[in-house]
Amino acid sequence: MSLQIISIILGSLTLATALLVVLSKHPVRSVIYLVVTFFLITSMYIMMNAQFLAIVNMIVYAGAIMVLFLFVLMLLNLNKEIEPVNTRTAQFTALIAGGSLFLILITALKDTLILGESFRQKNEQIGLVKELGNLLFTKYVVAFEITSILFIAAMVGAILLAKREKQIIE
């Protein structure tokens, strides 16, 4: 019963902060609300006993990616006055499109499988670092190595793109 209340509170808080990300006019506030949303999603991972993903989500998303976003926002020096706003018609259309997407997904998943299934999982060891490490370094080791190449490519690309070109300045 108490778990039920906790998960309902966490879920509604997640949706509320996600809505605030979209609705707030100030980009920096959007970033802060997004960090809170990621922390709440992390709490859901913990409730499903996915410990490794909970930690990785907190470090990578709430830590690294959001700080990157915040840095770029500070670098560009944006404020409320130059915030571009869409027209009313476009906003209304987007609301209808998103709402129907939500309804379609809910209807598609309504008749599927897991009504009433508790999140006490069958195999409690699944989300732990040991099990996932075993999987990652045996079955998915090729994908893991390719990931490192992707990261190097992203790093080089980011530095090349964001660098100032000296030739143009002179």
Binding site: M48, A94, I114, E117, Q121, L161
Partner: protein, 107 residues
Amino acid sequence: MQANMSIGTSLDFFLFVAIALFAIGAIGAMTRKNMIVLLMCIELMLNAVNLMLVTFSTYYGNGDAQIFVFFTMVVAAAEATVGLSIIIMAYRNLKSIDIDMYNQLKN
């Protein structure tokens, strides 16, 4: 009914939250014109999909989906880095982050 009894403790609740998060992210990606907020909405949608994958992984008692979530996070990190550096470069040229200005990228 079983569903009424178990709302909140069932895995359906996490599925519902994931679907709602995805819809909110999609609405944000369609409404906002700030390029950076748009990237943030895409991150929100990616996280919704991650949550759904973890839910199904918990249901089936199978770790493969959690590895997939790990790779999604890796790709999302790379995507955010490259996307933000493209935004910085475009901001230097255009002095704006309005997404309507970015149609000049095609030239």
